[in-house]
Symmetry: C2
Subunit: 368 residues, 2 copies
């Protein structure tokens, strides 16, 4: 039974809401950032896992989309998205078979950081009679995938380029450490370092004879800064579509630009100060909970502070004089939208206090 | 396409595995604990969200099951489980309508900690022409739901008992703070306090004229201790079915009794020490990640240490001389089984290196 057209008061709780006005404004603004800088926008769909929102992103000007895993890309391709970057090293015969199937339906590029992974992709490419496009991932400070910028990456890119069946289309990085920046100033330093390092490394590769077309940078916190640096060709922000409390804390988004919230009901008032809502870590995720009270703000209620989540309970206290009764409804702002949305099968797209349409989180759980 | 009968090597990764020999041993052992103490076992199904495992628990001797939310109970009732405790305060007309539907299919008791919630349930009970059985939740130290043990709870229980349409069947507590106990000794103190407080409060209620039948204690860490205290009638452990790294750390389970693991593949070796696997916080959850390296052990590989998870990557380092190559497979031990399993649609029940059967995580995401 679809709840399209329902009043918010008719929704059972907890429920994941996406404010469509805010979502549309977020998509338009980032598309404008990319257009002004004349770089391609390839949003990361891990944030929303929704083919419908992905289509909105393409309609707003995105050149294609980025997916975290092959399973996510398969869902998106099934919904008609036809220009995909799978930003993950694909390892093993099962993955290569699936990639072969995906390549029949869409343009697919893959990122990697090793010759071993390139060799698997090269075998697939040769069996298909074409070169598979790959992006070489560079470690600009997250210390996850990739070699450091400079000669170490240039050597790796050259080695990969020698693997038959593979074409090195460019370099890619993700400055995930930007999320840990303590201030807007620290964030700017991280973002500039990320982009300059990547552009310089791309130049090094070109001087060594590689014809790199793509210099692709990721992350919502660094996207606006990265867009303006000469040499960048592609932006891959994800969180910007929905935003979250972390983006507000970093100064990357304002509160009125948070599109995703969890509607919850007060189910207990065990003491004069304490309250309990029906949304816990299985509705919001426990991401960033260790940073302490307030990591999940209550929209429009600065007098209410969440202290901790257990799986199905959110436990908080009143820090001001406002009323709060069992049955009251609150809107909780996720600390990390990507982790929150991944817990839900369905989001409600709302506008003007009503459900306008349901948004299936169709790629939820597609971790393989 | 079912993978029943497949060799583990045929599974794509990441994949959630449940060792059926270990699961069966865990279920039998806790059933024996309850039987020896002559208390009822009502396992919490939030851990596995699997109707099939719930049926195994009942077959092993459980009197019924506990569910975290109404949606979980609906899934379990739909699979034939017919004696349910919904350990959550149900608030709002939508929930009461659904509870009415559930009561047509199963015996259902509900826990609560307020007169307001009792009044809603009482209206439903009167409309059905029967008293709904409720358990009054007591705060034995978690500081989530409930009033403190002693007179505060005895007064609340008496008030709730006066609500027409509701019958106070007993008291309930959950010593969730036991998970934070720093040592087995601290754990024992928490567990004894939990149970003695609850039994004494039940006596207080009885002296005031309430005929309480049930004194129900929860949590895997405290269950074995609580079972042996006179006056306890029911145990509600959940995690014991699967166990996890936290239970091992607390001394509640040994490593060979962890039934749930995540099978992952090494996808990168960016430095001589660092490795990256294809399972991150969307496969394992980020629960307890802030406690630092080693919170997610690698089964059988003490030389490998996970340092952090991002959404789809697990990043670790080698602390010993063992070999590790791209394509190697590792089994990761979740820090928190309940949060991990809730990310998956399907677990593979394995025995002797093969998939014996698929276990749908049918109640995953049923947070409402």
């Amino acid at each position: 039974v679809s709840l399209a057209g329902a009043d918010l008061a008719e929704l059972d709780t907890p429920a994941l809401l996406v404010d469509l006005d805010v979502l549309e404004a977020n998509l338009a603004e980032m598309a404008a950032v990319a257009a002004r800088a004349a770089v391609a926008l390839r949003p990361h769909t891990k944030t929303h896992k929704s083919p419908e929102i992905a289509r909105m992103q393409v309609a707003a000007g995105a050149a294609g989309i980025t997916c975290a895993k092959l399973g996510e890309a398969e869902v998106m391709a099934g919904a008609g998205l036809d220009d995909l970057l799978v930003a993950f090293p694909l390892v093993g015969e099962a993955k290569l078979r699936r990639l072969g199937g995906l390549l029949e339906r869409a343009r697919v590029r893959v990122s990697l950081d090793s010759v071993e992974v390139a060799e698997g992709l090269g075998r697939l490419g040769r069996s298909l009679g074409r070169d598979l496009e790959v992006l070489v991932e560079v470690d600009t400070g997250l210390h996850r995938l990739g070699r450091p910028p400079g000669p170490a990456t240039a050597e790796l890119a050259a080695e990969i380029a020698r693997v038959p069946g593979v074409e090195v289309a460019g370099l890619l990085t993700h400055a995930g450490h930007a999320y840990r920046a303590g201030s807007p100033e620290a964030l700017r330093r991280v973002a500039e370092r990320e982009v300059l390092d990547l552009v310089e490394t791309a130049e090094l590769c070109r001087r060594a004879g590689l014809e790199l077309r793509e210099v692709s940078v990721g992350s919502t916190p660094t996207a606006r800064i990265g867009a303006s640096v000469a040499g960048v060709t592609e932006l891959r922000p994800g969180t910007y579509a929905l935003n979250d409390a972390t983006m507000v804390r970093l100064g990357v988004a304002t509160e009125d630009r948070v599109a995703a919230t969890v509607l919850a009901t007060v189910v207990a008032r065990p003491t004069a100060e304490r309250f309990v809502v029906d949304a816990g870590s299985k509705s919001l995720s426990s991401d960033n909970m260790a940073t302490g009270p307030g990591w999940v703000p209550v929209a429009g209620r600065p007098d209410l502070v969440l202290d901790f989540l257990s799986e199905e309970h959110g436990v908080g206290h009143r820090s001001g004089p406002g009323e709060l009764r069992i049955g009251d409804r609150l809107r909780l702002v996720p600390s990390h939208a990507c982790a929150c949305v991944n817990l839900w099968d369905l989001a409600y797209g709302v506008r003007g206090g009503r459900v306008e349409r349901e948004l299936p989180v169709a790629a939820r759980g597609k971790v393989a």
